[in-house]
Symmetry: C2
Subunit: 461 residues, 2 copies
Amino acid sequence: MNSSLSVFVGTPSLLILSQSGLSKNPRKGFFMPPQPLRIGLAGLGTVGAGVIKLLDENAALVSRRANRDIVITAVSARDRARNRGVDTQRYAWVDNAPDLASREDVDCIVELIGGADGPALAMARATLAVGKPFVTANKAMIAHHGQALAALAEAKAVALKFEAAVGGGIPVIKGMREGLAANAVTAVYGILNGTCNYILSEIESTGKSFGVILAEAQALGYAEADPSFDVDGIDAGHKLAILATLGFGSAPDFDAVHLDGIRCVTPADIDYARTLGYRIKLIGLASLENGHLHQRVGAALVPMHHPLAHVGQSLNAVVVEGNYVGRLLFQGRGAGEGPTASAVVADLIDVARGEWGPPFAMPTASLSPLPKADADTIAERFYLRLTVKDQPGVLADITAALRDQAVSVESVIQRGSDTHGDVYFVLTTHITPTGAMLRALSHIAKLDSVTEKPLLMPIMN
Amino acid sequence: MNSSLSVFVGTPSLLILSQSGLSKNPRKGFFMPPQPLRIGLAGLGTVGAGVIKLLDENAALVSRRANRDIVITAVSARDRARNRGVDTQRYAWVDNAPDLASREDVDCIVELIGGADGPALAMARATLAVGKPFVTANKAMIAHHGQALAALAEAKAVALKFEAAVGGGIPVIKGMREGLAANAVTAVYGILNGTCNYILSEIESTGKSFGVILAEAQALGYAEADPSFDVDGIDAGHKLAILATLGFGSAPDFDAVHLDGIRCVTPADIDYARTLGYRIKLIGLASLENGHLHQRVGAALVPMHHPLAHVGQSLNAVVVEGNYVGRLLFQGRGAGEGPTASAVVADLIDVARGEWGPPFAMPTASLSPLPKADADTIAERFYLRLTVKDQPGVLADITAALRDQAVSVESVIQRGSDTHGDVYFVLTTHITPTGAMLRALSHIAKLDSVTEKPLLMPIMN
């Protein structure tokens, strides 16, 4: 008998034969004893150390659920000498991370280096090229290169998994990819960045400014020295692009995400919002508007009766709306050693069980970019906060600009401001096309009587 | 070449050969065009009609995600003539549901008949016996016979899936089985019965009694004519036994669930709870106490800051606490045509993709019952509401009974009752062993001055 294709028609109902031994499913592969899944781990920061701790502490449980052992055999990081609170001496050390992929004693790579490009991407390509499964927490890389990597994984029929890339320990990738697979998703949105949610929660509870809270968060290690990825919405945007891909079957399109952050949100805004019955949250939202994809990240007003209004501190939460399931909420810890390690090892267990498939739930070739929704086709309610000179005629100028764009005002609050003798002027609108609102705002921002950059935020239902 | 085992060592990294064609994975099975997954559907009630509607409306999307069509070929129900709002004429009709399993044109059974035994169980056994996958929404059957059925499925290497059995459209079975597979679960609890949550929400918002709200709910079709399964906690108990199995790797043990319902909860209790900062919810809770499994369903006080306090109306929500992931919340619609169909079809997509494994996440033989936790090893805070005669010495008798069991009182509320001239007397305790509390209560209930059956509820953290 030669080595070409032969068909088995004996008694067992399913037989899996595998070249590498990697993808064989030990549950069904009765004729082969389950071999351990041997991991090459790249990146030994907080999450990497968490993965090692989890695989140590929960080893018996993980083996029982995976039906085979999951063991780390080799690791790579920048600094070999650093004390990480875990024993890494027992693993082979590799200086150049992508070299992990080609090792004989490595079946599967876990990439925790981070960054959209550079060594992480080199490693992903090297791993998939040799036909080994690749597990990552790297949201930036998946948002930018997810489709190309998924195509590589598909070509080699190996797993590409990234549960930890969105929502930390919350199984929202799995929830959308599999749990909601029967639904046409109409919208997916949520609190995707724990740092921003922490900062906003702290501004609310202390009344301190964004800058003060940010500095405190940095001192506590809750925010990076360069906070821009978090507070300008970039991190949430990466996550949103991944969720949108899963929800709408579109190609990941991070560049089409409208990004806004929380730097402009003041304690006064949070106060006004509360008066109106809302909390301010950094919301990433993707929705389908007549076949056009709307993706945006920015501060938004969330009504107190909405479950997202009660997601405090550094928690994350994702809402998915499907045409059969209705509205689902997933909530949990969106970052940190334990939750992220939990998601990474869940992916490894799926790989070990052989329970995985197309990374974005459908053949990668069928993911195509959806046209970007136009601002005039999206209609929302808005909160607009202006800082204006305390003089006659100001209100008339502003309301005229709104009227000219047919923006209908729902409510107005005016209070004295604590600076310059200017006053804060806050209004909310009825539902209005975003384009009209932006045109009115552009006019308003140029008025002499408007002394600071206005802050415009959508109001969620 | 004969038909015995032969090993393929050519180029493709994975090759799946299947006897029945059922379990082959079309994603990897490049050499075979994907065949439709042909469904035999038993039970054409609300959920059955929902599954038909979903597979019609979302057909293209389901095919794209499953990478093959999912089509119903044959159906069975009690009454062939009944108008179900969907076209069932296009399917073969089978009078005796278990006969669906042996049909040549059926690859997979969906069972929506219900009931722990009877035709549903006959059908499950018949389906698994012929080595076909079985998808069900039947919580009672899985709670009672889940382990035996899982063993049958395992012996034939076919899928047994029951996402719709718990939490309707919420993918909590998948979340626990796969998403949290890396964690030692310490507790799983939640609002598992939408009817009870609806009734309690309505008592709170209207001040009407349980009996009145129940009658209204029955008139609206939100509660069954025989409401016992819902309001006495049986339905929630079935779901809890399934969640506990997934969380703790124990055998499903419905008989060990302590069951209590909501019949005794009065508008006054809800009022007292609110005064104390809590909402009353029917909570199913399973936790591990020193290797002993604690499972109970009953009304409990949930603090206003807890996410479960904000789960209103007929929504369901499940909290899972894991040693790495921390506390996760899943929330959504726990029943009804759309959400339940969403879960059933998600299971079918998993079957179609070949992404499934042991029903309870680990080899069925390794599921063994955990010893039941003893009331003296569980410690909680309690709410106790007594109806007492308005006479001297009553308080002394009650507090003495508590003192004798070393139960420490945290707070006391006494108000006039609207009946008999008796008074309601409400107290909360500090954390105390359940056994001690029950002994004290047994003594208190026998006091002459206590005129109605006391209501004891745990207070959640």
